[in-house]
């Protein structure tokens, strides 16, 4: 009994984590590995008519439009809902329509950050 249980505890995670087995009778120990996956870290730069660039605070500008995640004022952009481009279009709605917004964003994966949008410019006046 001792050895059967010991082998179950020793070999179970190896089967799941090394051999990529998918039998969930055996427990893998991968804590919090999926939390935050798909989260977008974005920077929005307002390109004004006079050529100046201003970094936008989307938390403030879109307050009330995001779904509030917790009691504190933090807003999460997810790549599944249009991601940073969708947020840029919403920012256009509250800015001067002649201007543009440059997006730089990265998305969280289980293996680290991956570039999401690399300098794409959204013209606010475009339909």
């Amino acid at each position: 009994m001792f050895f059967a249980l010991a082998v179950f505890m020793l070999a179970g995670p190896a089967y799941r984590q090394v051999l990529d087995g998918d039998n969930r009778v055996f427990r893998n120990w991968v804590m919090f590995s999926a939390i935050g996956v798909g989260l977008v870290d974005a920077r929005f730069t307002h390109l004004t008519e006079d050529g100046s660039e201003v970094i936008l605070n989307h938390h403030e500008l879109l307050a009330g439009q995001y779904r509030k995640v917790r009691r504190s004022n933090i807003w999460l952009i997810r790549n599944r809902n249009g991601g940073a481009v969708d947020v840029a279009r919403r920012l256009c709605a509250v800015l001067d329509p002649i201007t543009s917004i440059r997006i730089e964003s990265r998305v969280a994966t289980r293996r680290g950050w991956v570039t999401d949008v690399d300098g794409e410019i959204v013209n606010c006046g475009a339909p």
Binding site: A6, M9, A14, G36, A42, I74, G112
Partner: protein, 296 residues
Amino acid sequence: MSSVTPTFNVLTSVRRLWTGFLAWGVMSVGSSRSSALIRIGLGLIIWTRFAYEQLPYRYELGWHTAFSVLFYVFTTLMIVGYRARMTTFVAGILTMSFYYYFGLVSNYEPYTHHHTYILGIATVLCALTPSDKSYSLDRWLAVRAARRRGEPLPPEAGNLWGLRLIVIQLTMMYFWTAVDKVHPGFLEGDRLEALFMYYYIGSSLADWAAWSWVFAVAAWIVVILEFALAFFLPFRRTRKYFVLPGLALHLCFYLMLPVFTYSVTVILLYLAYFDADRVHRILDELQGEPIERRSG
């Protein structure tokens, strides 16, 4: 010049290690008090996590009502220690069923978390300890019966193989969770950065160049510490250096992440690492002299 071959040396060392492991694993007899404290603690943690969700009135009359009643009966008997080994085993199976049946089969995601699993498996393993021999109704009844018959009190001791299995479980947990983090995405701080944004600041990290360094350093500390806890907590000589860092790590998890009962469960299970007779002596010291001697 020695006539002993290197192969012979290796075989002798392996045999010595195996014999030592057997002696430690299945042939150690010691105090039952740490096992009993784990039993009571696990029962209370099970209530903390599941009791509200298992209130019988929450379900239509049927099999789940029966499950709820069994849950309350067996966890209560486990905590008070009546037929403690058997009732702890049943309570462990019921707790494991939260993970395997409700979580994995019925796809109730909150029950698939690591805190549910560790609580269930620890309770099953606790049933294999001599937890009935101390701090239990079983013990009280046994002491009364012995006194009635004029016999010496039954010893608070038993085979500790269940505690050893808890140590193996904790070691595997630390080892494999550390292995899972050994990749550039974690060691460069990316995963911790994403977690920090997810729970604390939302989608845009403040413009502070040192952030990535902070998360990278924190990531290395977590991984090194988890490997160290896996390899050094089980051994008496090295344990003293890692107990406090281990407790600190779990307190950090508890305060910073929604780990539910995970931290408190693991902290309770740390009792399994310590020499059971030493825990017994410390409890003797803590409790002081018996009440009859004081009043006399």
